[in-house]
Amino acid sequence: MNKPTPAAVPAAFSRDIKTIVNAGLQRRHAAERRFRSYGLIAISLGLLFVVLMFANIIGKGYPAFWQTYVQVPISFDPAVIDPQGTRDPVAIESADYAALVRAGMRRMFPTVEGRTELRALYALVSSDATYELQRRIHQNPALIGSSQEIWLLASATVDTLVKGNIDRALDETERPIKDNQIGWVDKLQAAGKIEKQFNTILFSSGDSREPEQAGIRGALMGSFYTLLITFLLSFPIGVATAVYLEEFAPKNRWTDLIEVNINNLAAVPSIVFGLLGLAVFINFFDLPRSAPLVGGLVLSLMTLPVIIIAGRAALTSVPPSIREAALGMGASKLQMVGHHVLPLAMPGMLTGAIIGMARALGESAPLLMIGMVAFIVDVPKGIMDPATVLPVQIYLWSDLPERAFVERTSAAIMVLLAFMVLMNGLAIILRKRFERRW
C-alpha cells in the first residue's frame, strides 16, 4: 500500500511552546482580572440600587403597619341605645352610637365648649369609632348599661401627628391639625391614653376615603381571584400547547408560523392585551367591567406565551434517551409523554408558570383598560364582583396627597414584593425539589 506523503512540518512546531505561552501569560491573567472586576462593579451597583429601593420603601412603609388608637371612656347609656327597653336588635343596630363617642370625648375634656371647639375635639377619633361601638354591642348586648374604657381608632391626622410626620413649627393654617387639637393629643399622650397597635385594618378591610380605615384586603382578594383564573386557564392550556407543539405537531410551515407568533406574543406590550380584553370580553361578550374574571382572562392571554415557551424549553431538555427507552418498550407516544417526559419536564414548566404568574401579579396596565381601577370599598367575594388588584391599588393610593396614604402605598408595595419573593422562592424550591438526575 502506498503511504500518503507526510505534510511538511509547520514552522510553528519547531518553536518552544513553554516560552511562547509564558510570554502571553501575564496578558491573559490581566484580562481575566479586569473582567472579574467589571463583573464585581456591575453586581455591586445592582445590589446598591436594590438596597436603596428596599430601604426607601421599607422606611416609608413600615409605620403603616402600626395604627394610633385613643382610649375613650364610653358609657353604653341605655337611654341612647335602647330608649324603649325592648332589646329589639333592629332598633339597637340603628341607635346613635356617634352620640356615645361624643359623650366619651367630652368626658375626657369637660372644659371644651362651643360648636367649633367640640367638632375639633370629636375629629380626633375616626368615624370608624361609631361602627366599632355598634359592633361591640352587636356581639355582646349585655354591655348595654355598663361603662368601659375602649380603644378607638384615632383619625388619620392624629395618627400622622403621633408618628411625628407633622411639623409643629408650621403655622396653624398650613397644617392639617389645629393647635388646640395638638394640645389635646399631647394631654392624652401624657395620660397614656394614646397607643400604637398593630394595624389589622390594613389587612382586613377594603379601600376607603378615610386613610385610617383603608386596607388592602379588597385588592388582595381581587389579585387572588384574578390570578386564580389566570392560573386555571393558562397553565393547562399552556402545558397542553407546549406538549402538542413539541411532541406531536408535524414540523412544517404552519407550526413554524405558530412558533414565531407565540414568540412574538410574549413580547407584546401588556396594555395591548388590555385593549384586546376590553374589545373582546367586555364589549363583545358583555362580561362585567372590573371583574376578576375578565382580569384573569386578559392576564391569561399575556401569561400563555410565557408558559408555552418555558414549557417547550423544559420538554426539549428531557434527554432523548428516555424517550427512546420508553418507545423501545412499546409505549405509545402519549404514554411516553405522560409517563416519562412530562414528569421530568414538570419542574421546569411549573417554574415558568410561577414566573409568569408573578409577572401577572405585578401587572396593572391591562387591568386599567378593563376597569379594574375603580374605587371599590367592598371586598370581592367571587370572580364576578367588581374588584381591583394590588398594583392598581398602589397606583390609586400613590395619587393621594395624605401622608397616611403615602405610608400605605409603601406598605402595599411591601406586601406585593413579599408575594413576588414568595412566588419566586416557590419556583426555586419546586425546581430543587423535583429536579432529577438522569
Binding site: 434517551s321 428516555i322 427507552a325 418507545l327 409505549a331
Partner: protein, 296 residues
C-alpha cells in the same frame, strides 16, 4: 462522520492501485472490492425475521442499499462494520425506531414471522412489545429499579395482580443476572446503579415483556471488561429463549457471543455467514480487511 468515510475511501483507493500487494494475500474465490453484492448465505432454515431489499434514506442520503438477510430463531447474530456503515440504522429498522426520525424513509420488506412489520395493519406498539431493544448508553428511567422493570408489563397489561407483577419483576431481574445484586434495593432509583448494572437493568426491562427478539446496539461500549463479560455471558443464556441481534465494534465480542455475523460497509451488506467462517475464512476482501484490522 465524513472524515471516516474519506479515510476509508483513500485506504480503498490505495489498495486498489497496488495490485501486487493485494494478490499476495488473497485466494482466488475471494470476492473483489468492487463487488457490492452480498456474499455468503443470507437465508436460514428457521427464520424469525426475513429482510429483503431494505433501502433506507435520511432525506436525500441513502444510508442502506438493498440489504437482504434472515435472522434465525434463537440465534445470536452480530452486525459488524466500520463506523457510519449503517448497522444502527438497520437495527432500528427492525423495530421501527426509525419512525421517530422525521427525515428517515424505509423501503423494502421486513417480516417478523409472517407479518410485514411496515404494513399499515401493524401497530408499532405491538411490534415493539415483540421486539425489545437495548441501547448503547444505559438508559434506565429515573424511577426505582422495580418500576423500571415493571413498566413494560404495566403498560401492556400483562399482569392482573401485584403478586404476579412482583414475580415477573423478580424473574426478569433473575434472567438479566441482576436479581442478587438488587434484591435488597428494589426501591432505589435505577440510575443509582453502576453502568454495567444499569445496562443489565435495561436488559431486564426488555426481557420483562417477554419479547421474541431483542435488539442490542453496542450494549457494552460504555462498560468495563468485567461488566462486558457478564453481559456476554447473559446474552449466551438469553439465546435459549430469545432471538438476539447485536451490533458491536468488538470483533472478539462478535466471535464470542454470536453464531452468525453480518458485515456492513458504507451502506452495503457485504457478507453474511457463520461467525467461525467470517473470522477465519472471509469470502469478501472488504470483510477480510476489516477483520484483519486494515481499517475500521
Amino acid at each position: 462522520m465524513s472524515t471516516t468515510t474519506i479515510e476509508i475511501k483513500t485506504a480503498l483507493d490505495a489498495t486498489l492501485h497496488s495490485d501486487t500487494d493485494a494478490d499476495k494475500r488473497s485466494s482466488v474465490e475471494v470476492t473483489d472490492y468492487n463487488n457490492r453484492q452480498t456474499v455468503g448465505k443470507i437465508t436460514v432454515d428457521h427464520p424469525k425475521m426475513v429482510c429483503r431489499n431494505v433501502n433506507v434514506y435520511y432525506g436525500a442520503k441513502q444510508a442502506l442499499k438493498n440489504v437482504g438477510i434472515d435472522i434465525g430463531i434463537n440465534e445470536v447474530i452480530a452486525f459488524i462494520g466500520p463506523s457510519g456503515c449503517g448497522k444502527s440504522t438497520f437495527l432500528r429498522c427492525l423495530n421501527r425506531m426509525n419512525d421517530t426520525i422525521v427525515a428517515c424513509r424505509v423501503a423494502g420488506q421486513i417480516k417478523l414471522d409472517e407479518d410485514d412489520i411496515y404494513d399499515k395493519s401493524i401497530d408499532v406498539v405491538q411490534l415493539r412489545a415483540r421486539i425489545g431493544m437495548v441501547f448503547q448508553k444505559p438508559n434506565p428511567f429515573p424511577k426505582s429499579i422495580y418500576e423500571n422493570v415493571a413498566y413494560g408489563p404495566r403498560i401492556h397489561g400483562m399482569v392482573n395482580t401485584k403478586a404476579e407483577l412482583d414475580e415477573l419483576v423478580r424473574a426478569s431481574l433473575e434472567r438479566a443476572g441482576l436479581l442478587k445484586e438488587v434484591e435488597k434495593r428494589m426501591n432505589e432509583p435505577g440510575t443509582s446503579l453502576s453502568g454495567g448494572q444499569q445496562q443489565r437493568l435495561c436488559i431486564a426491562r426488555a426481557v420483562a415483556v417477554n419479547p421474541e427478539v431483542i435488539l442490542m446496539d453496542e450494549p457494552c461500549s460504555a462498560l468495563d471488561p468485567i461488566a462486558t463479560a457478564k453481559i456476554e455471558e447473559l446474552i449466551d443464556e438469553l439465546r435459549e429463549n430469545y432471538t438476539i441481534v447485536i451490533v458491536t465494534h468488538s470483533m472478539q465480542q462478535a466471535a464470542r457471543v454470536s453464531q452468525r455475523t453480518a458485515y456492513f460497509h458504507l451502506g452495503d451488506l457485504i457478507e453474511v455467514g457463520e461467525t467461525d467462517q467470517i473470522f477465519t475464512n472471509p469470502k469478501h476482501k472488504l470483510t477480510e480487511d476489516y477483520i484483519t484490522g486494515r481499517f475500521g
